[in-house]
């Protein structure tokens, strides 16, 4: 009886593990990560209703006010004001939007390019594989800074530029993993069976290959999100980030760094926001990976 099931199952696609959700949320760390992500998402989606002030409204006489619990601070500006009198708390709330947009779209672009190239390289092999591998190697050995300058030079600085840059610098990590998985999937019986029954190429790739690389890709994407947020702040450090009328944690940190030992709250809070968000995403990613592959626990 068991043998019959076994031979049959090699024709089946891998079965999704049940009780995935309970596995996922078993550890407190993962739960904490999920909570952080949820809070950031709420900030991002409900910014107009949560933020007490307009994040771009300048009030020069009120510049450099310390956080409300310190001497000199007021309750109007919960976390204080920056060098042009803008409310820091409001800017952090609105900054979640940018983090979300930049993170998600950057990862989406990088992921699409990387997965597509990885699947193609793994499935077709041969010269196609070689060429793609070469491009990936060159890209990998290339400092992200230069690429960023190139994109900014061509498109000009904007939110789009940052998203494109993050996408272009991030696709390589997907290629390797997806290629390896595609290679092994290609030999699996169910794929061979589909080929034998004359299924079209697109159907094979979309229906059989893609869904099975999705779990690794999801894990990679989660860490890619963390990487994207840090990269955005590094680009802002070099003045290649989003324009100043878009409040982003990266630009806030870059601007605030010159005040770190005099008016420390300008730089501390956005830095903390980045740190906590990235931490949360990393924790959740860890949990996700463990849940998808219990053997690594």
């Amino acid at each position: 009886m068991t043998t019959a099931v076994n031979t049959l199952s090699s024709l089946d696609e891998p079965v999704r593990r049940r009780s995935f959700v309970s596995l996922l949320f078993a550890g407190p760390a993962t739960v904490a990560g999920a909570i952080v992500i949820a809070v950031v998402a709420v900030f991002a989606l409900c910014a107009p209703w949560i933020a007490p002030h307009d994040p771009n409204f300048q009030n020069l006489p009120a510049a450099f006010k310390p956080p409300s619990w310190l001497q000199g601070g007021t309750a109007t500006y919960l976390l204080g004001t920056d060098d042009l009198g803008r409310d820091i708390f409001s800017r952090i709330v609105w900054g979640a939007r940018v983090a979300g947009i930049v993170g998600l779209s950057g990862v989406a672009i990088g992921g699409c390019i990387g997965v597509a190239l990885g699947v193609i390289a793994g499935y077709f092999g041969g010269i196609v594989d070689d060429v793609i591998a070469r491009i990936a190697d060159v890209q990998f050995a290339f400092p992200a800074v230069l690429l960023a300058i190139a994109v900014v030079g061509v498109i000009g600085p904007s939110l789009l530029t940052v998203v494109v840059t993050i996408g272009i610098t991030g696709w390589v990590q997907y290629v390797r993993v997806v290629r390896a998985e595609t290679l092994s999937l290609r030999e699996r019986d169910f794929v061979q069976a589909a080929v034998a029954t004359g299924a079209s190429l697109t159907r094979i790739l979309l229906r059989h290959v893609l869904p099975n690389v999705s779990s690794s890709v999801t894990v990679l994407a989660t860490f890619g999100l963390a990487r994207a947020i840090i990269l955005e702040s590094a680009l802002s450090f070099l003045a290649l980030g989003v324009p100043p009328d878009v409040p982003s944690w990266g630009t806030m940190l870059a601007d605030g760094r010159q005040f770190l030992d005099t008016d420390w709250w300008l730089g501390l809070f956005p830095g903390l926001a980045i740190f906590v968000t990235v931490l949360g995403v990393n924790l959740f990613g860890d949990g996700l990976r463990d849940a998808l592959d219990p053997q690594s626990r």
Binding site: L60, L84, P157, P243, D255, F259
Partner: protein, 512 residues
């Protein structure tokens, strides 16, 4: 008696050696001043670059014909006197006692060689514009030099006479002559200045020793070390720990901390650098309307920007010129902050309550002190007129490309630091129709600037500039902002005053 004479002799000998020993002991505590700028100098070839952190080193090891004092007046240096021998001839007399460190005497031939080298394409010098008015040089004798200019020029407190003088014999010996260049000079300078070049570990430290045989007298400081520290916070930290004695480009937010520090002092100087926003009147848009330009000037509250963004370290300007410049006119009024008047002018121009007014304010980042922050503040203030103002910030190299193509519109930020202390350089470079960086064209103004350049009577010259500045005020091709106050900080034991042209003369320093 022989014994007494011996005794006196012995006593004298003992005393002299004691005094000598005591002075050596006092001298033995070698005085060193460490200076930290934001960047390392790029070369020891003084005829190539114009950037201040590099030329600041050259000022210690090379001499020029004249120097500027703190008020911008020319004072004799290697040149003892000068006169206008003919309409196109300026004649300088040189000191006879100036020697290079290797003993070569400094003569007019060296001065001639230096200027010609700057004009030589093989040298690749950036200083070309500074000697552009000089047609040729005559050296009737070793201590007289005559500049023949292309047209009669006023004694512009300007550049041809501020060229660094190099040892022509030494340069020729090392393969550097008119028509061909070698890289030898980049790391092996031969100067005549108050300090001698000792060693240079790039990006790390550059060491100079006092020149005991300097014609100017031995400097009070024995050694000068230039140690570059790029990050402002790290520069301030290094001063506080005593790792350095003088730092430049101190951001305003450190002023309280450093002024009240245990062993630090704040020093400041009114800068020759002015920050402004130019309107690109050559491109179509609301900025071509004079009323709009004037209105926006009234909408600005410059004192508030100075107080908040610069920490009070700035002075509002009504004209493109700092107040100690030749050509400055104190009668020109400021555009005082008047939002009502701004709105009225805008309504007159066809933008009631700013409706329909949509402008991009362009600015660089990291080039001028608080450039990005000032741009943001300006856009914020202008928005109070009801119009829509956004900022577009770009990094410097992209930005400067666009500026030189006159491609930024309708308004863009620039700083101008003219260290000739004379109006001509500023007006010519920024307001004349054919200047590379000018986005304003007014033939009447063009003629005035040219006339003033070649006018030799100072009173007449000032009269022309008065008229020109009045036109500029009325036409408002700029958003007039401020001139900077440069901040420096030093350890308490350094006796030195800051200058507005960002130059540092170490032979004026003392340690207490």
């Amino acid at each position: 008696m022989p014994n007494r004479r011996l005794a006196v002799f012995a006593a004298a000998a003992f005393l002299t050696s004691a005094v000598g020993g005591a002075t050596t002991f006092l001298r033995a505590a070698d005085t060193t001043v460490t200076i930290s700028q934001g960047v390392d100098p790029v070369t020891m070839d003084p005829l190539k670059r114009t950037i201040t952190p590099t030329t600041n080193v050259h000022y210690q090891i090379f001499d020029t014909l004249v120097r500027h004092d703190r008020d911008g007046k020319m004072v004799p240096w290697v040149a003892t006197s000068w006169r206008r021998a003919a309409p196109t001839v300026w004649e300088f007399k040189l000191r006879h006692d100036v020697k290079f460190w290797n003993g070569d005497p400094l003569t007019s031939a060296d001065v001639k060689f230096s200027v010609e080298k700057i004009k030589d394409p093989a040298e690749g010098s950036e200083q070309g514009p500074r000697v552009a008015t000089v047609d040729r040089i005559e050296t009737p004798d070793p201590y007289t030099i005559r500049y023949i200019t292309t047209k009669p020029t006023a004694m512009i407190a300007g550049y041809p006479w501020e060229v660094f003088i190099v040892d022509s014999k030494y340069w020729k010996e090392h393969g550097d002559d008119i028509g061909h260049s070698s890289n030898y000079e980049a790391e092996h300078p031969m100067g005549s200045g108050p300090f001698i070049f000792k060693s240079w570990r790039k990006d790390e430290q550059l060491v100079l020793d006092a020149n005991p045989n300097s014609w100017h007298g031995r400097p009070a400081v024995d050694h000068v070390i230039f140690k570059p520290i790029p990050e402002a916070a790290a520069r301030v930290a290094a001063l506080r720990t005593g790792e350095t004695d003088l730092i430049t480009n101190v951001p305003a937010q450190y002023q309280l901390q450093l002024a009240g520090g245990r062993n630090t002092e704040l020093k400041s100087a009114r800068s020759v650098r002015v920050l402004f926003f130019a309107f690109n009147t050559l491109k179509a848009g609301p900025q071509q309307n004079k009323l709009v330009r004037q209105a926006l000037n009234y909408a600005l509250d410059v004192p508030a920007i100075i107080a908040t963004v610069l920490g009070g370290r700035g002075y509002q300007v009504a004209t493109p010129l700092p107040s100690n410049f030749v050509g400055y006119d104190p009668q020109i009024p400021f555009y005082k902050h008047d939002l009502a008047k701004a709105k009225a002018l805008l309504a007159q121009a066809g933008y009631p309550d700013g409706k329909g007014l949509d402008m991009v304010i362009n600015a660089p980042i990291g080039r001028y002190n608080k450039d990005k922050e000032v741009a943001e503040a300006v856009a914020g203030q202008l928005s109070q007129t009801g119009g829509h103002f956004t900022t577009k910030i770009q990094e410097w190299t992209t930005y400067v490309n666009l500026v030189s193509q006159k491609g930024l519109a309708p308004a863009y930020e620039l700083g101008w630091g003219n260290d000739s202390y004379d109006a001509d350089n500023t007006l010519t470079s920024l307001f004349t129709s054919d200047a590379r960086l000018s986005t304003y064209a007014n033939p009447q103004l063009d003629k005035m600037v040219v006339d003033a350049r070649y006018e030799t009577d100072p009173k007449q010259r000032q009269a022309i500039y008065d008229k020109a500045l009045a036109i500029i005020h009325e036409e408002a091709p700029w958003l007039f902002l401020f001139e900077y106050e440069d901040l420096y900080a030093s350890s308490k034991r350094l006796v030195w005053e800051a200058r507005g042209d960002e130059l540092i003369y170490c032979d004026e320093m003392k340690l207490q």
